[in-house]
Symmetry: C2
Subunit: 238 residues, 2 copies
Amino acid sequence: MNLADQNLSRIAREPLWDRAHSQLREALLAGRFEPGSALVLRQLAETFGTSITPVRDAVSRLVAQGVLDQGPRNSALVPDLKSSALTDLMVVRTELEGRATREAAMKACAADVDALEVLLADMRRMIEKRRLDTYLDIHRRFHFGIYALAGIPILLEMIENLWLRCGPILSFVVPQYVVSLKGTDHHQAALDAIRLRDGTRAEAEIVADIEEAGAYLLGLADGTGRIRRPHEAPAGAR
Amino acid sequence: MNLADQNLSRIAREPLWDRAHSQLREALLAGRFEPGSALVLRQLAETFGTSITPVRDAVSRLVAQGVLDQGPRNSALVPDLKSSALTDLMVVRTELEGRATREAAMKACAADVDALEVLLADMRRMIEKRRLDTYLDIHRRFHFGIYALAGIPILLEMIENLWLRCGPILSFVVPQYVVSLKGTDHHQAALDAIRLRDGTRAEAEIVADIEEAGAYLLGLADGTGRIRRPHEAPAGAR
DNA sequence: TTGTGTTATTTGTTATAACAAACGACAAGT
DNA sequence: ACTTGTCGTTTGTTATAACAAATAACACAA
């Protein structure tokens, strides 16, 4: 008998620490962890229903990636971004995401741009429905959709790392802000520029997008430089 | 009795996995691991005289940082850089190290530049003595000395990560090449530009330095794109 | 000789227990 | 009231053993 055409899919091997890592990543990116709070191994292990070994592995990786801070006694803390750290992150983000956008503009074909245009339409729909969480998710896919077009895996990886670092405060951008931004839609402008193969212009738009969001977040800082969640948006924190 | 002025230094807490991590980092950066070879946990554990738990931790972190590749069965492999991966790395390096240099030029004071000038002199001495390993070490300190002046910790951290990724093939730059490069000393030129607060010029010089080294390494690629160690330089590999 | 199933070995994964450092509560002394 | 020492609890670290998946070696059959 012939084994082909059986529609059997490859069985993926995914260790426990890998799944724990993914879940923590996701939660961080969605802002479901309170900045400054500590991640306790035994506590997480109980939540996941595993021993501490795999969670220790996952947390350890996050710390190694700079996504989590290490507090006293090598405990893992959800980063509580200060203004200066945020400013620094923005510098690196504009540099890397700008470059990725420029490369993307040179390599993108019409179909690529069309696919992104769909995401853009979805984003507008989500804003109108005030669905902040799904908006943020599509927003992320839009950005990374552009960066993926650059075709430079390492660059993509590092940008992902930067977003993870911003994760805990990423959800602080409230719907009001997103809506008010509609006047100057850098996303649309960047996409238009990519379609026209204008790398410089596309880069400038993405950089402007990043810097506007950064400026907004910087405006949330209190006296000590801590970026604080705006009170009008609980955002399902935990 | 007064506790001050007892000349007691702070007792550093350094877990086993941390020391293992440091040692592996160092070895990678010095090119003491053969590209493509596998790091075996129990083997390393025996070398370090510990159980596999701390080495697993250390290796796991290195993989999370992208410094080690993960092969089949989640084993850790010393990356065997292909031409394309090297090209990509160079893109990110020029972007990040270029920006860091520009920032450094704006913030450096005379004393900072003088300190770097000393390292530059040391480098020349090491070239003449054909002490490749110490040359590479000082060379690294010179570069990071510049980048540290930018005063952006996150940027520094990411650049360090990029160097770690290049680590295994970094020692492939043979003395002959380094010497032949003396005609166009980008290091000196960059430092001069920094002293003159010419950020644009300094950035260009550092970028040129990176790209020249990159082009040299790219020239070592064989038919499959693998970067191979030049036969005339065993470089104490193991 | 070639292909195939079996077995032994290697090697990463996970759970568990013992351990040690840090932290907090609390009581005693000043 | 404030400090200080002690004890119990919390929590990360390490070693160890059992486990499971992959690989290699090998024997047997076509």
